[in-house]
Symmetry: C2
Subunit: 166 residues, 2 copies
Protein backbone atom coordinates (compact mmCIF):
# COMPACT_ATOMS: atom_id res chain seq x y z
CA UNK A 1 0.00 0.00 0.00
CA UNK A 2 1.66 3.18 -1.19
CA UNK A 3 0.43 6.74 -1.36
CA UNK A 4 1.05 8.79 -4.50
CA UNK A 5 4.23 10.86 -4.44
CA UNK A 6 2.04 13.72 -5.61
CA UNK A 7 0.72 14.08 -2.07
CA UNK A 8 4.12 15.03 -0.74
CA UNK A 9 4.62 17.46 -3.62
CA UNK A 10 1.24 19.06 -3.03
CA UNK A 11 1.84 19.51 0.69
CA UNK A 12 5.14 21.26 0.12
CA UNK A 13 3.60 23.45 -2.59
CA UNK A 14 0.84 24.56 -0.21
CA UNK A 15 3.50 25.28 2.40
CA UNK A 16 5.41 27.50 -0.01
CA UNK A 17 2.31 29.26 -1.31
CA UNK A 18 1.40 30.01 2.29
CA UNK A 19 4.49 32.22 2.52
CA UNK A 20 3.27 34.51 -0.27
CA UNK A 21 1.67 37.94 0.24
CA UNK A 22 -2.11 38.00 -0.27
CA UNK A 23 -3.22 37.52 -3.91
CA UNK A 24 0.34 36.93 -5.10
CA UNK A 25 1.03 33.80 -7.14
CA UNK A 26 3.74 31.35 -8.15
CA UNK A 27 3.73 29.71 -11.58
CA UNK A 28 3.64 25.95 -11.93
CA UNK A 29 7.11 26.13 -13.40
CA UNK A 30 8.42 28.00 -10.34
CA UNK A 31 6.79 25.54 -7.94
CA UNK A 32 8.35 22.62 -9.78
CA UNK A 33 11.79 24.22 -9.87
CA UNK A 34 11.74 25.14 -6.20
CA UNK A 35 11.08 21.53 -5.23
CA UNK A 36 13.16 19.88 -7.93
CA UNK A 37 10.27 17.85 -9.31
CA UNK A 38 8.89 17.35 -12.86
CA UNK A 39 6.71 20.29 -13.87
CA UNK A 40 4.47 18.51 -16.36
CA UNK A 41 3.38 15.98 -13.77
CA UNK A 42 3.12 18.41 -10.90
CA UNK A 43 0.61 20.43 -12.95
CA UNK A 44 -1.76 17.48 -12.80
CA UNK A 45 -1.74 17.54 -9.03
CA UNK A 46 -2.01 21.33 -8.82
CA UNK A 47 -5.10 21.07 -10.98
CA UNK A 48 -6.63 18.65 -8.50
CA UNK A 49 -5.89 21.13 -5.71
CA UNK A 50 -7.71 23.80 -7.74
CA UNK A 51 -10.65 21.51 -8.43
CA UNK A 52 -10.96 20.77 -4.73
CA UNK A 53 -10.90 24.42 -3.72
CA UNK A 54 -7.52 24.39 -2.02
CA UNK A 55 -5.76 26.54 -4.64
CA UNK A 56 -6.87 29.24 -7.05
CA UNK A 57 -5.32 29.56 -10.48
CA UNK A 58 -4.77 32.76 -12.44
CA UNK A 59 -4.19 32.40 -16.21
CA UNK A 60 -2.13 34.64 -18.40
CA UNK A 61 1.21 36.41 -17.91
CA UNK A 62 1.99 37.10 -14.26
CA UNK A 63 -0.50 34.35 -13.47
CA UNK A 64 0.04 31.21 -11.42
CA UNK A 65 -1.32 29.55 -8.30
CA UNK A 66 -2.21 30.87 -4.87
CA UNK A 67 -4.04 29.55 -1.83
CA UNK A 68 -7.83 29.63 -1.96
CA UNK A 69 -7.99 29.91 1.85
CA UNK A 70 -5.69 30.37 4.80
CA UNK A 71 -3.28 27.65 5.87
CA UNK A 72 -5.10 27.32 9.19
CA UNK A 73 -8.13 26.17 7.19
CA UNK A 74 -6.27 23.62 5.09
CA UNK A 75 -5.58 20.22 6.63
CA UNK A 76 -3.47 17.30 5.50
CA UNK A 77 -6.71 15.41 4.93
CA UNK A 78 -7.84 18.03 2.41
CA UNK A 79 -4.66 17.63 0.40
CA UNK A 80 -4.45 13.85 0.66
CA UNK A 81 -8.03 13.44 -0.53
CA UNK A 82 -7.62 16.00 -3.33
CA UNK A 83 -4.52 14.31 -4.75
CA UNK A 84 -4.99 10.67 -3.83
CA UNK A 85 -8.77 10.51 -4.01
CA UNK A 86 -11.38 9.67 -1.43
CA UNK A 87 -11.78 5.96 -2.10
CA UNK A 88 -10.92 3.77 0.89
CA UNK A 89 -7.68 1.77 0.76
CA UNK A 90 -9.56 -1.38 1.74
CA UNK A 91 -12.17 -2.28 -0.85
CA UNK A 92 -14.53 -5.03 0.25
CA UNK A 93 -15.10 -7.45 -2.62
CA UNK A 94 -17.84 -9.28 -0.75
CA UNK A 95 -15.93 -12.50 -0.47
CA UNK A 96 -18.62 -13.80 1.86
CA UNK A 97 -21.05 -13.99 -1.09
CA UNK A 98 -18.82 -16.27 -3.10
CA UNK A 99 -18.00 -19.95 -2.89
CA UNK A 100 -20.05 -23.05 -2.11
CA UNK A 101 -21.60 -21.79 1.13
CA UNK A 102 -22.83 -18.44 -0.14
CA UNK A 103 -26.49 -17.53 -0.22
CA UNK A 104 -28.45 -15.05 -2.31
CA UNK A 105 -28.03 -11.32 -1.91
CA UNK A 106 -30.97 -11.13 0.52
CA UNK A 107 -28.96 -13.03 3.13
CA UNK A 108 -26.53 -10.12 3.67
CA UNK A 109 -28.52 -7.15 4.91
CA UNK A 110 -25.61 -5.66 6.88
CA UNK A 111 -22.23 -4.50 5.64
CA UNK A 112 -19.49 -7.13 6.08
CA UNK A 113 -18.00 -6.94 9.58
CA UNK A 114 -14.48 -7.12 8.20
CA UNK A 115 -15.20 -4.10 6.06
CA UNK A 116 -16.68 -2.21 8.99
CA UNK A 117 -13.59 -2.82 11.12
CA UNK A 118 -11.30 -1.66 8.32
CA UNK A 119 -13.43 1.44 7.76
CA UNK A 120 -13.18 2.31 11.44
CA UNK A 121 -9.40 2.18 11.22
CA UNK A 122 -9.36 4.34 8.11
CA UNK A 123 -11.62 6.83 9.85
CA UNK A 124 -9.12 7.06 12.69
CA UNK A 125 -6.47 7.76 10.06
CA UNK A 126 -8.54 10.50 8.47
CA UNK A 127 -9.33 12.03 11.86
CA UNK A 128 -5.62 12.29 12.59
CA UNK A 129 -4.96 13.87 9.19
CA UNK A 130 -7.78 16.35 9.75
CA UNK A 131 -6.14 17.42 13.01
CA UNK A 132 -2.99 18.53 11.21
CA UNK A 133 -3.45 22.00 9.73
CA UNK A 134 -1.00 23.42 7.23
CA UNK A 135 -0.51 26.37 9.55
CA UNK A 136 0.75 24.09 12.32
CA UNK A 137 3.09 22.28 9.95
CA UNK A 138 4.38 25.50 8.41
CA UNK A 139 4.96 27.14 11.79
CA UNK A 140 6.81 24.11 13.04
CA UNK A 141 8.91 24.08 9.90
CA UNK A 142 9.91 27.74 10.30
CA UNK A 143 10.68 27.30 13.99
CA UNK A 144 13.02 24.38 13.41
CA UNK A 145 14.55 25.22 10.02
CA UNK A 146 18.22 25.99 9.64
CA UNK A 147 18.53 29.80 9.93
CA UNK A 148 20.42 29.98 6.64
CA UNK A 149 17.32 28.80 4.76
CA UNK A 150 15.15 31.78 5.62
CA UNK A 151 17.03 34.46 3.63
CA UNK A 152 17.57 32.00 0.77
CA UNK A 153 13.84 31.36 0.57
CA UNK A 154 12.91 35.01 0.88
CA UNK A 155 15.29 35.90 -1.89
CA UNK A 156 13.97 33.20 -4.16
CA UNK A 157 10.38 34.18 -3.46
CA UNK A 158 11.13 37.81 -4.26
CA UNK A 159 12.40 36.80 -7.69
CA UNK A 160 9.60 34.41 -8.52
CA UNK A 161 6.48 35.85 -6.98
CA UNK A 162 3.92 37.28 -9.40
CA UNK A 163 1.22 39.76 -8.50
CA UNK A 164 -1.70 39.59 -10.96
CA UNK A 165 -4.16 42.43 -11.29
CA UNK A 166 -7.10 40.42 -9.99
Amino acid sequence: MKMSDGVEWAIHCVMLLGALPPSATLSGKALAEFHGIPESYLLKHLKMLVTNGILESVPGPRGGYRLARQTKDITLLDIVQAVDGKRPAFRCTEIRRRGPCALGDGAYPRCCGVNRAMMRAEQAYRDALAEATMKDITDEFMANADPRIVPLGENWLEENTRTPKS
Copy 2:
Protein backbone atom coordinates in the same frame (compact mmCIF):
# COMPACT_ATOMS: atom_id res chain seq x y z
CA MET B 1 -3.82 4.31 -2.44
CA LYS B 2 -5.13 0.78 -2.50
CA MET B 3 -4.57 -2.14 -0.21
CA SER B 4 -3.85 -5.55 -1.67
CA ASP B 5 -6.91 -7.75 -2.19
CA GLY B 6 -4.88 -10.47 -0.50
CA VAL B 7 -5.56 -8.79 2.85
CA GLU B 8 -9.28 -9.44 2.55
CA TRP B 9 -8.63 -13.01 1.47
CA ALA B 10 -6.27 -13.59 4.39
CA ILE B 11 -8.72 -12.20 6.94
CA HIS B 12 -11.51 -14.46 5.76
CA CYS B 13 -9.17 -17.45 5.72
CA VAL B 14 -8.17 -16.80 9.32
CA MET B 15 -11.85 -16.50 10.19
CA LEU B 16 -12.61 -19.88 8.65
CA LEU B 17 -9.57 -21.57 10.18
CA GLY B 18 -10.71 -20.27 13.53
CA ALA B 19 -13.78 -22.49 13.26
CA LEU B 20 -11.68 -25.66 13.04
CA PRO B 21 -11.08 -28.09 15.93
CA PRO B 22 -7.62 -27.84 17.49
CA SER B 23 -4.78 -29.12 15.26
CA ALA B 24 -7.13 -29.73 12.33
CA THR B 25 -6.23 -28.16 8.96
CA LEU B 26 -7.67 -26.99 5.67
CA SER B 27 -5.71 -27.29 2.43
CA GLY B 28 -4.89 -24.23 0.34
CA LYS B 29 -7.14 -25.65 -2.34
CA ALA B 30 -10.06 -25.91 0.09
CA LEU B 31 -9.51 -22.37 1.38
CA ALA B 32 -9.48 -21.04 -2.18
CA GLU B 33 -12.61 -22.95 -3.17
CA PHE B 34 -14.54 -21.88 -0.09
CA HIS B 35 -13.92 -18.23 -0.89
CA GLY B 36 -14.11 -18.47 -4.67
CA ILE B 37 -10.65 -17.01 -5.20
CA PRO B 38 -7.62 -18.17 -7.26
CA GLU B 39 -5.69 -20.86 -5.41
CA SER B 40 -2.27 -20.26 -6.93
CA TYR B 41 -2.24 -16.64 -5.81
CA LEU B 42 -3.84 -17.26 -2.43
CA LEU B 43 -0.97 -19.63 -1.61
CA LYS B 44 1.42 -16.70 -1.79
CA HIS B 45 -0.50 -14.86 0.90
CA LEU B 46 -0.93 -17.94 3.07
CA LYS B 47 2.82 -18.37 2.96
CA MET B 48 3.23 -14.82 4.28
CA LEU B 49 0.84 -15.64 7.12
CA VAL B 50 3.01 -18.68 7.94
CA THR B 51 6.21 -16.62 7.77
CA ASN B 52 4.72 -14.11 10.18
CA GLY B 53 3.63 -16.74 12.68
CA ILE B 54 -0.12 -16.34 12.18
CA LEU B 55 -0.62 -19.73 10.52
CA GLU B 56 1.12 -23.08 10.72
CA SER B 57 1.49 -25.31 7.68
CA VAL B 58 1.52 -29.09 7.60
CA PRO B 59 2.98 -30.74 4.48
CA GLY B 60 1.98 -34.07 3.01
CA PRO B 61 -1.38 -35.79 2.55
CA ARG B 62 -3.98 -34.67 5.09
CA GLY B 63 -1.84 -31.57 5.52
CA GLY B 64 -2.86 -27.94 5.14
CA TYR B 65 -3.02 -24.79 7.20
CA ARG B 66 -4.18 -24.07 10.74
CA LEU B 67 -3.92 -21.14 13.15
CA ALA B 68 -0.65 -20.73 14.99
CA ARG B 69 -2.47 -19.05 17.91
CA GLN B 70 -5.98 -18.28 19.07
CA THR B 71 -8.16 -15.78 17.24
CA LYS B 72 -8.22 -13.57 20.34
CA ASP B 73 -4.47 -13.14 19.88
CA ILE B 74 -4.62 -12.29 16.17
CA THR B 75 -5.47 -8.72 15.22
CA LEU B 76 -6.27 -7.12 11.90
CA LEU B 77 -2.95 -5.32 12.17
CA ASP B 78 -1.10 -8.65 12.29
CA ILE B 79 -2.74 -9.78 9.06
CA VAL B 80 -2.49 -6.45 7.25
CA GLN B 81 1.22 -6.18 8.00
CA ALA B 82 1.88 -9.81 7.11
CA VAL B 83 0.21 -9.56 3.70
CA ASP B 84 0.70 -5.92 2.77
CA GLY B 85 4.02 -5.33 4.47
CA LYS B 86 5.06 -2.93 7.18
CA ARG B 87 6.31 -0.05 5.05
CA PRO B 88 4.42 3.20 5.60
CA ALA B 89 2.03 4.35 2.87
CA PHE B 90 3.58 7.81 2.91
CA ARG B 91 7.25 7.68 1.95
CA CYS B 92 9.09 10.93 2.50
CA THR B 93 11.39 11.63 -0.43
CA GLU B 94 13.06 14.54 1.34
CA ILE B 95 11.76 17.14 -1.08
CA ARG B 96 13.07 19.81 1.27
CA ARG B 97 16.63 18.86 0.33
CA ARG B 98 16.09 19.46 -3.35
CA GLY B 99 15.80 22.59 -5.44
CA PRO B 100 17.61 25.94 -5.46
CA CYS B 101 17.13 26.73 -1.75
CA ALA B 102 18.31 23.40 -0.35
CA LEU B 103 21.34 23.13 1.88
CA GLY B 104 23.69 20.28 2.63
CA ASP B 105 22.59 17.22 4.59
CA GLY B 106 23.84 18.71 7.85
CA ALA B 107 21.10 21.34 7.74
CA TYR B 108 18.35 18.78 8.37
CA PRO B 109 18.99 17.16 11.74
CA ARG B 110 15.29 16.45 12.39
CA CYS B 111 12.87 14.33 10.43
CA CYS B 112 10.71 16.39 8.04
CA GLY B 113 7.63 17.75 9.86
CA VAL B 114 5.37 16.68 7.02
CA ASN B 115 6.62 13.15 7.40
CA ARG B 116 6.13 13.22 11.16
CA ALA B 117 2.51 14.34 10.81
CA MET B 118 1.80 11.61 8.27
CA MET B 119 3.44 9.02 10.51
CA ARG B 120 1.24 10.09 13.40
CA ALA B 121 -1.84 9.51 11.28
CA GLU B 122 -0.64 6.12 10.16
CA GLN B 123 0.06 5.21 13.78
CA ALA B 124 -3.55 6.07 14.64
CA TYR B 125 -4.58 3.75 11.81
CA ARG B 126 -2.43 0.93 13.10
CA ASP B 127 -3.69 1.46 16.65
CA ALA B 128 -7.24 1.04 15.44
CA LEU B 129 -6.34 -2.11 13.52
CA ALA B 130 -4.57 -3.52 16.58
CA GLU B 131 -7.78 -3.04 18.58
CA ALA B 132 -9.72 -5.37 16.29
CA THR B 133 -9.11 -9.01 17.21
CA MET B 134 -10.16 -11.81 14.93
CA LYS B 135 -12.17 -13.24 17.81
CA ASP B 136 -14.29 -10.08 17.97
CA ILE B 137 -14.83 -10.08 14.22
CA THR B 138 -15.64 -13.78 14.10
CA ASP B 139 -18.07 -13.56 17.03
CA GLU B 140 -19.81 -10.63 15.45
CA PHE B 141 -20.04 -12.49 12.17
CA MET B 142 -21.64 -15.55 13.78
CA ALA B 143 -24.08 -13.44 15.76
CA ASN B 144 -25.34 -11.59 12.72
CA ALA B 145 -25.08 -14.23 10.00
CA ASP B 146 -28.13 -15.60 8.25
CA PRO B 147 -29.11 -18.74 10.20
CA ARG B 148 -29.11 -20.82 7.01
CA ILE B 149 -25.36 -20.33 6.66
CA VAL B 150 -24.38 -22.13 9.87
CA PRO B 151 -25.39 -25.69 8.85
CA LEU B 152 -24.03 -25.10 5.34
CA GLY B 153 -20.68 -24.11 6.73
CA GLU B 154 -20.56 -26.92 9.26
CA ASN B 155 -21.34 -29.43 6.55
CA TRP B 156 -18.65 -28.08 4.27
CA LEU B 157 -16.10 -28.02 7.06
CA GLU B 158 -16.87 -31.63 7.92
CA GLU B 159 -16.09 -32.68 4.37
CA ASN B 160 -12.93 -30.66 4.00
CA THR B 161 -11.26 -30.66 7.39
CA ARG B 162 -8.07 -32.72 7.68
CA THR B 163 -6.58 -33.95 10.91
CA PRO B 164 -2.84 -34.62 10.57
CA LYS B 165 -1.00 -36.82 13.01
CA SER B 166 1.15 -34.02 14.42
